[in-house]
Each structure stands twice: as structure tokens, then as C-alpha cells.
Symmetry: C2
Subunit: 191 residues, 2 copies
DNA sequence: GTCTATATGAAGATAGAC
DNA sequence: GTCTATCTTCATATAGAC
């Protein structure tokens, strides 16, 4: 194994640890000490791989985008109709209800935190929403060519974000069940 | 004016400044220096009025609860039917769209921040939701005695939270228009 | 009650030995 | 490339003069 490859693996281990940490603690409370502890990389050595905290965020978002792209590609391959794909998306808060009730939505809570007074960082975090928004818009366009696909996409995103927020506020693992059922019924009723 | 009254006024000035600061910056990034600057109270003197940051949060939440109770009482007085009251609530993200697009929902974003790893503080912030939830449940119960009023209340809260999150993510002042229209249409269609 | 000065700790980031 | 030691800054909170 070359030195370069080994370095890349260390970097990847840091990014994956930060992915969880960012979700579980939030950006501002997440410290380099936390990262060192979670990744097993000595505290001072982190700054060789990431000079600033912002670079850590950028790396985590890039990683998440890759994961999400792969997931959406899978759905596009495995699910034959736009309606099934949209319903698959709508079910995320239900499948993830354990995590969502404890920590909220990973991308929603991060944007909410950074959107207050850290506009440049929010712009990085917002790319996660862009990716879903565009994919959902394509599905809606295929399903309902005569309707405003982007507005429908934003509506679906808003509904799922709302479920995540309320499940998190009340640490409620049953709320996603009811809400996702209603959301899927709405999708099926569209014409 | 007695000394006691003057102290109370100073305290009130601090609380009102913190109310905005908490909304605009969030809890963790809000420092005592920020509070001193925003309220005009000398930095060191703040700790006479509030020994810890947690006490500041508790005072702000108590203040917000008072404001919200007064607002809900006004609605109950001024709006004759439960349906009108529910629609009045649903319109908040539209009326507040300038603030919501810049800072999100004051109670939603606070709960999202504190819900990650500050359970005791979140319990304080959650009381804002409890107040709305119970009031909305009463309205739904009056409107639709045969349905699950609490589930409807949580649904309406989720819908408005979702609107706030997405308007904030995209700093979008027009999204609340579309979403609130749809939400009011849903309320009117209930039976 | 008011305010200055400061104790104490933890954060992000860097310098330089190995 | 790795890691220790440390610089600097800023946070909460307190002690004590006025």
C-alpha cells in the first residue's frame, strides 16, 4: 500500500466519524477534541488532514452527497415508476425514525443551525437539499408533466422536514408512522 | 420608583434582548458579551441578574410563553370559530415570512439545536410547543369531536414547521404563500 | 446593586521535534 | 506524515472594590 493510499484511508476514517458527530452534536458544539476521540486520530494530527473546521464540514458534505447520489441511483434502478420512487423518499422519516426522534433530520438540523448566522457554511450544507430537490423534481415531472414539479418537490421536502422536526421535539417514534401514511396517500392521490 | 422595580425593568430589558439574540444566533453561539452589547448592560453586571446561561434561557422561554398565551387569548376572543382560529395559526409562517426565511421558526430552530445533546435545555424550550399543541388540540376537538384532535394538532404543527425549515434553507419568501394556501385548504376540507 | 478585574477552562489553530 | 507542545482567543463564571 502506498503512503498516499494510507493517508486517504485515515482521512476517510475522520470523515466518517465526523459524519456521525455532526449529526449527533451539531456543527458548533463539535470540537476537534471530539473528532479525535471519535476517530481515534491524535488530536494534533487532525490539523494535518484538515486545517480548519470548515474544511471538515466540506469533506463531510461531499461524503454525504456521494452516499445520497448512490442511494438515489439505486432507487432509480430498483424502482420502476416515479410514484414508487417518490413514496420511497417519503418513507425515509419512517425507516429512520429511531435516529430522527433522537437527532432530527441530518440535513435539516444542520441547515437550521448554520442558517442563522453562518451563511457561507449553510451554503455548503444546502447542497444536500439541492440534490434531493432536483431528483424529486425529475420524478414529479415524469409523473405529472402538467404540474409545477419544483413546487411539488419543495412541498414534499417540507412535509418530511416537518415530520422530522416534530418527531425530534417530542422524541416520538410513532408520529412518523401516521404522517408518512398520510404523505403516501397524498402522493397516490395526485393527478 | 423602588429599587426593586428598577431591577425588574433592567432584567426585562435583558430578557427582551436575549429573545431576539436567541432567535437570530441560536443558544450555543449566543454569549454573555453578545447579550451585554445587545441590551446595553455592562458585561460583568449580567451575572448579577442571571447567574448562568441556562437561567437566561429559562427567563426567555417564560417570557415567550406569556406572549404566546396573550396571543392565543386574543385569537380566542377575536375569532368566533375554531376553524378561523386554526387558519389564523396556519398563517403564521406567511405573516412572519421575512423573519422565517432568514432565521427559521423561533421555537422549532431552538428545539432542533437543543434536542441534539442538551436534553434538559430542550425540555425548557419544548414548553413552547406544548402550549400551541394543547391550544390547537382544543380547537380541533371543538371542530371535529369524532376525530383524533391531538394527532391533527401534531399534523398541523408538523406542516408549519416544515414550511419554516424549507423557507429558511432557501431563504425563500414566496414558499410560505403556496404552502399556507394549501394548508388552509386542507383545514377547510376537514370533516 | 453596579461594575472592574480576573480566575479558569476549552476552543481553533500553529510550530516544530521526530 | 505523525504527533507533542503550545499560542491565542474567547467562553462562562466569580471575587471583591465601590
Amino acid at each position: 500500500m502506498t503512503t498516499h493510499e494510507k493517508t486517504r484511508q485515515v482521512r476517510q476514517r475522520i470523515v466518517q466519524a465526523c459524519d456521525d458527530l455532526l449529526y449527533h452534536k451539531g456543527y458548533n458544539p463539535m470540537s476537534f477534541s471530539d473528532i479525535a476521540k471519535a476517530s481515534g486520530i491524535p488530536r494534533g494530527n487532525l490539523n494535518y488532514h484538515f486545517k480548519t473546521k470548515r474544511q471538515v464540514l466540506e469533506a463531510v458534505i461531499e461524503y454525504r452527497l456521494q452516499q445520497t447520489r448512490a442511494m438515489l441511483d439505486d432507487w432509480e434502478q430498483g424502482l420502476p415508476t416515479p410514484l414508487e420512487r417518490l413514496k420511497r423518499f417519503a418513507r425515509i422519516p419512517l425507516n429512520e425514525r429511531e435516529n430522527v426522534s433522537r437527532f432530527g433530520c441530518p440535513m435539516g438540523s444542520l441547515n437550521t443551525e448554520l442558517g442563522k448566522q453562518q451563511a457561507e457554511l449553510q451554503a455548503v450544507a444546502r447542497m444536500q437539499f439541492d440534490l434531493f430537490r432536483e431528483w424529486l423534481t425529475r420524478q414529479f415531472r415524469a409523473l405529472l408533466p402538467h404540474r409545477d414539479a419544483d413546487a411539488l418537490s419543495l412541498h414534499l421536502l417540507a412535509r418530511t422536514q416537518g415530520v422530522a422536526v416534530m418527531a425530534h421535539v417530542y422524541a416520538d417514534r410513532s408520529l412518523p408512522r401516521r404522517e408518512v401514511d398520510g404523505l403516501c396517500a397524498w402522493l397516490e392521490s395526485l393527478e
